[in-house]
Every structure is written in C-alpha cells, then in structure tokens.
Symmetry: C2
Subunit: 462 residues, 2 copies
C-alpha cells in the first residue's frame, strides 16, 4: 500500500471525516434509555454501504446488531467489531451540550470534539469507515475482506450479542477480529491491551415486606422507632459483601481465580517500567490508589483483581433540603469484574448464596446476562501485527496483559475461536463521565493507524 | 359561649372555610426548596388581619416568622403556634397533583382534600382562623387574647425559631401555647399527645480525597480495581452507627437517656389498652413492627427509644439502566430523634467523635440546629382543658406521654416557661408521603373542637 498517498488523502479529506464523527455523536443513542437507537443503527448501516459493503440491521430481543460484509476476493478476512451505543448523561454537568459534538479547545489537549460517545466509541467507529474509504479510494481495493458486527448494547453488558453470534456464527467466520478505539495516552504513547475482564451486572433491592419496613411508600421518619428501615438493612447487607479494603467477602468468590501466568508476569514487569500511575491518577483527579503497592504489584491488583463495584446506591429522599422519611426501599446497582477463571454463572450463584446466608434471601436481585474475560497472547500473530503497525509511527507501544474494563471478546476467542486485537492511535478520555472528549489530531492518527494495521493483518501467514 | 350557634355558623359557612383550606394548600411552600414561601407568609398574615388582629412578617436568617396579636381585653392570653411550610414532593407518585387541593373520595375515608400539607398542617392552620372568625362573629369577641407565631421552617427542624423566640421573648408571653392539628384516628378516637421528641438532622458526605477515591466526578467503574470507592466507604462507616436491630451503636449516645417516669409508665399502661398497633401498621402498609414486643413494651420502644434514621442515601448512578461508574461521593441524610434527657449538642459531639474513632474524620458532616424533647404532665391544667374539650364530643381521648415525632416545643416549656397543648379533632394522614389527605368532615370537627378548647382554656384558674 502507498501509505504516503493514503495519509495525504486522509489529511486532505479530514474536514469531511470529522463531520462523520460529529454526525455520529449528534445522534443520541443511550442504550439504557432508548431514544435514537434505531436511527443510529441506520447511520452505521449507511456507512457500511457508503464504502461499498452490504449491511443489514438484525433485530435481537434488545437493540439491533448492524451486520455487514465487504468481499474483496482477498485471501484473508477481518471481522470489525464495534458498538453504536453510549452511556447516559442524566445528572451530569457538561461544559457544552453532550450531543452537539462541538469542537473546542479542551483543557491542555488542543482542539477536541467534546460530546457523549466521541471517545467511547463513536469517534473511532466513524474513523474506521473513513480509513477504509481512504484505502479504497487511493488503492482501488482493500487487501482484506471485511465483515462488520456493530452492536447497540455494549454499555448494557452486550446482553444480546451472544445470541446474535450463535445465530450468525457461520457468517462471522474470519481470520481475526478488530475493535478500533483511541489508545494513545496524553504523552503520545500508544497502549495495547491484549484482553479484557468479564462483567456481571446486578441490581439488588431491599424493600419492606414480611420482615418489616414500609412496603408501599416512604412514611414519616418518626415511625423509625416502631418500624424497621430497608435502607439500614441494605447497608448492613452490603457491608458483608466487601471488607474495609474492598476485597470481596462473598464466600467462595475467589475459588476460581487463578494467579497471573508466567507470560502475564513478564508483560506486567515490562508494563511497570513505562506505565505512569501518577498520570493515571491525575487524569482521574485521584490523590492515591486503593492499594499500598507500587509497580508491578499495583498493576497486578489493577489488572488481575476481581472487584465488586457499586455503580449507584439510592434510598429515600436525595433532593435538596431535609425530609424526615422512613424509605420503603433501597437499591444498589452493582457489578463484578471477572478475571481468569471466574465465570458469570458461578459468581451469580455465589452472590445469591451469600444473600441467603446473611438472611437476605428476600432481596430482589436482578442480574444482567454478563460475560467472562478474554485474552490474547502477546506472541499471537494478530498481536504482533498490531504492535508493528503502532511501531511504524515511531512509538513503542506499551503492552498490557489486559484492560481493567470489559468487553464481550470471549465471543471471538471462545465462541468463534478466532484471535482478536484492539486499539489504535488517537487520544480522548472521560468515558462514562461529563466532558467526554477526543482530540482532532488523534482522529487523523487513528485513521492512519487503522490503515497500517489492515496492511499488517493482510500480510499474516500462518 | 353558645356552642350551638357557633357550630351552626361553622356548618353554614363551611364551603368558605373549605376554600380557605384549599387556598392554603394551593400555595406551594416547600421550605426545603423555597418557591412560594413569602407568598404563603403573606396569606397567613392576611388571615390574622381578617379576623381582626395585627400581623407582621418577621425576617430571620431563613424563612420569615409570621407574628400576630389580637387583644380582646381578656384576663388570659393564648399563643397560637403553627407552621406554614410543607414537605417536598419530588419523585413522589400522587393520585392528583399535590398542589391543587382537589376534593375527591379517598380510599375509605369519604370526601377528602388530597394535597401536600393539607394534614401537616395547612388544613388545621386554616381551620384555626375559621374557628376564631366563627366565635368572633357569633359572640362578638373571643374569651382570650391571642398571639400568633407561625413559622416557615418546621420541616427544616425549626432552625431559626429559637433565634426568633429569643428576640420576641417578651411579646410572646402568654398563659399557654396551642398547636392545632387533626388528631382523630380513622375510628373517630381522639388522641392527645403530651410531648414531642427532639430532633437533630445532619448530612454526612464521603467524597474522594487524600484517603483515595475520585475527587471531582464519577469515573469509569473498571477503575475500582485501582481506586477506592466513596460509596463503599460510606457503607462501611454507616454500618458502624447501628446494629442489625437498628439500635444506635455510636459510643455514649445512650448515656443521657433516662427511663420513662412512673407517671409515663402509668400513661403507657393506659395507652396500651386502647392503642391499636395493627391499625397503625396497616395505615402505613407495614406487615410487622421492628421489635418482638407487644403492648406497653412495644409502645415504650416507639415513644422512648432514640433512633438514628436515614432519610435518604445516594451515591452514583440511580437512573434507569446500567452505568459502570465509580462515584466520587456518597451522601446520607440522617436524623436522630432525641428522648429525655438527650441534648442536641451532646449528640452532635458524639457523632463527630464516633466518625473520628472509625477513621472517618474527613467526612463532611453538616448539622442542622436541632432541638431537644419537650413534655407536659397529663395533670397540668392545660392538658386537662384539652382533655375536657375532646370529651365534650363524646369520645374519651387516648392520652400519649409523647408523640414519636418532633416539634420545637422546648421553646414553650423551657425557654418561655409556659405550658402547651396540641391536637384537636379532625382526621387525615400520609404526612411526608404521596396522597397526603384530610377529611372534609374532620375539618368541621376541628373548628368546633378549637372553639371548645379556647373556652376551656379561658376558664383555667391557677
């Protein structure tokens, strides 16, 4: 491929490529709420068709999956996985409206698009299409065949993706899967993650019932001398689920956890040399980590510890002012991050057994589907293709054994039995937070890095 | 007084008196939020002037107090205490809009006004004015001089009333104080409370800081493996403040609590004969009380136990759907109900000492002013005047040593050193809850019972 000409094409057409990113961000698609989801799926399908592919919007019991194909008669096929949904914005305080995709100078990052989803992951999704379009225009054809699987429920734990993959298993066959996103740090250092943790979401509700407490509505707070409180019961129950250091205290939950492998430990040791924990904390406005550890030991906690996180906790009056109220229910939205070899079904059973043990079998517990962890070896050809494509920009990538976050990549590694890679150049931040952003400069670099990766992937000989 | 003619006047003019109740309810005045507070104070001052009194709206550092006088050249003076503020309605699900004061048949109570504040306590406040107007019209004059002190911060713990009482101490002198409200049960049984618990509100906030945790905004939930959670810390801290049975476990908090007196125990024993705990639970849609006790023992818990209540608890995402979030703060709105001889300052100090002991001295704790308990003897002349006025309607009142709720009556008993009484006929419910209501029939009875009480009070010879 003629990278010089392709890069020049990307630079020349960047205003139009930026507009594609903005169009994606301006179409709200909060999967947890619903508005705009179908319109967003249409936008994605339209983009696949624009670059010459076929696309269909495939219904699931939840939000549809956009499936597409682009046959180039090439020897190798790459499956492009992505997501078109974003996180909620309710209650958040933004510098600019979250769905206007305004270009502003943001903090010390230069010109950025600020908007929900621009980093996670509508910016990279739009960038993929722009990169592919650029190669096709300059080269006439792509060096690989493509398949597309762009889901609308990543932020809900990809609850219907397993069903879709089961139905489309044969059509999804490829030599590898790629999930593109901006993976450069503020310093320019590219980061490569080889795997993901799994996740299991659940909501736990304690409400008044046969045990006591108000059953229908909150009542006058003075009645607390006569009637028990679902909020206190929730606090005492939740307290039994972690220790003061947040280590999970649900019986047996660590039984299936295995320590990092020798290869993991080597990657951890390398990583410890370049990973800047202070920058990570600063980026998140955090003054100290959770553990009294440094270097590889701290990274081991970060990447290999399962956690039980409280995403949200609410009971009673939480508006302005005082209100003497004995609430009738308390709710905790929680999730467990699953590390090797934790399985969602096993963790679910242990949570329920724990609640039974502590006398809280009457709590309503609603689990989302959940999925396990997934990992690639750093020596796998697809990992090496990604490493080479990043190196070609003059940066040595920082290789992580896995990311602390979650994605349903077990569907590739375990269900489809094909290797996967993720990331790319580009820079952004504040995923799941106000003022989510991505830099304009990073958007160009992302497109260029996708072009290099596709070229390296096409060259793999196994 | 000619009760027959006064009662007939009340019945004849009831449509206008009902309209006064509705006008009060239709003027929103949520002290915790602010809108309409001054308009409501004007309405109250206008009502005092309508019945021939003088009124002024006296500014305080918070919402104003409406102070009024009506001199009748009588030997005795009665101070009428009341409140013009109401509880919030945000997030509540009402049958009818909460500020329209619609008259509807409500459950099994017949025709009712349903609206925020109609029971607690705008209905009785409007009824006081209607009763006084009725006596003046029929009799030409009242048998007592009146003073009025109607505050706008009762639902905020009467935080500026002590300051007002200190400033107006001389003008507030009277032979007794009366706080009118609907105190008939569904069965028609009138209930007389001789006292109140005290209260101390506080809000406890745990946010990220030097100890760890995100300090500015919620961050991605996967970071929970590296960064500590203010929500978990709040749960572990709150857990140390009560036992599983909700007994307060803050060191030393029971040190000043004294057991009920011999007179209290006699009243408790009487009360246990008529108090219908099952009805109380049913009214509140509660299936069982907090304590394994019955009769006087259960009442002793209800009326003589201090409690630490959680009015509201919130941290992180509590909207629809899932959101993987590590919140940057958790908030608990709490209050302690104070029984003899707990004092707010002492309790405040013990809460702070407890937080220090458990390593949470960095929590932000914002206390409201708070006030102690207050009680009258059942044999006090003002108590006997109230008992006789209720008996005159053919019901034997059920006498309670105190109510489980709170009001700043220590200002009367301790600061002004004058006796107080509260209650009256009338029926309503759902204070601090959706579908707060009061019966139309009870509104008439309340007015008539106020007339009898004023007559009995005028006749006290001490």
């Amino acid at each position: 491929m003629d990278f010089t000409r392709i890069d020049a094409y990307i630079d020349e057409h960047f205003p139009r490529h930026l507009a594609r990113v903005q169009a994606f961000v301006r179409q709200p698609s909060i999967s947890g709420e619903g508005a705009g989801m179908r319109e967003m799926a249409e936008l994605v399908a339209g983009s696949i068709r624009e670059i010459g592919g076929t696309a269909e919007i495939v219904d699931t019991p939840g939000w549809p999956v956009v499936y597409g194909e682009l046959d180039q008669g090439a020897p190798r096929t790459l499956l492009l996985y992505g997501m078109y949904d974003v996180q909620p914005v309710a209650g958040e305080d933004w510098l600019v409206p979250p769905f206007e995709a305004r270009v502003i100078p943001f903090e010390d990052r230069g010109e950025c698009v600020v908007g929900r989803g621009v980093y996670n992951t509508k910016g990279p999704l739009a960038g993929l299409f722009s990169a592919l379009e650029s190669v096709r225009t300059v080269e006439g054809r792509l060096p690989v065949n493509l398949k597309f699987m762009i889901e609308g429920e990543e932020e809900l734990g990809s609850r219907n993706l397993p069903g879709f993959v089961a139905r489309y298993k044969d059509r999804l066959r490829a030599d590898g899967t790629y999930f593109g996103f901006y993976a450069q740090e503020k310093t320019g250092k590219p980061v490569l993650w080889l795997g993901v943790k799994g996740i299991l979401f659940f909501e736990m509700v304690c409400r008044g019932g046969a045990w006591g407490g108000p059953t229908v509505r909150g009542i006058h707070g003075s009645l607390g001398a006569l009637i028990a409180s679902p909020v206190w019961r929730m606090i005492h129950a939740a307290h039994t689920m972690t220790a003061a250091d947040e280590r999970i205290t649900i019986d047996g939950i660590y039984d299936t956890v295995i320590p990092p492998s020798a290869e993991d430990e080597r990657v951890l040791a390398d990583l410890a040399r370049t990973f800047d924990i202070d920058m990570e904390l600063r980026e998140n406005d955090v003054l100290r980590p959770k553990h009294d550890a440094t270097g590889a030991a701290l990274l081991r906690h970060y990447l290999f510890d399962p956690i039980l996180n409280i995403d949200g906790l609410v009971g009673g009056h939480h508006g302005a002012g005082t209100k003497t109220l004995l609430p009738h229910e308390a709710r905790a939205k929680m999730h467990v991050r699953l590390v090797p070899n934790m399985e969602p079904d096993d963790v679910r059973a242990k949570i329920l057994a724990h609640l039974k043990t502590i006398g809280c079998a009457d709590f309503e517990v609603r689990f989302e589907e959940g999925y396990p962890w997934a990992k690639m070896s750093p020596s796998a050809p697809i990992s090496q293709a990604m490493i080479r494509s990043l190196r070609s920009f003059g940066h040595e990538p920082e290789v992580w054994p896995n990311i602390a976050g979650s994605a349903p990549f077990y569907l590739f590694s375990r269900v489809l039995s094909q290797p996967f890679a993720m990331g790319g150049l580009g820079h952004g931040g504040r995923a799941h937070s106000p003022n989510e952003f991505a830099t304009l400069e990073g958007m160009r670099l992302f497109e260029k890095s996708v072009v290099r990766f596709v070229d390296e992937f096409a060259a793999i000989r196994e």
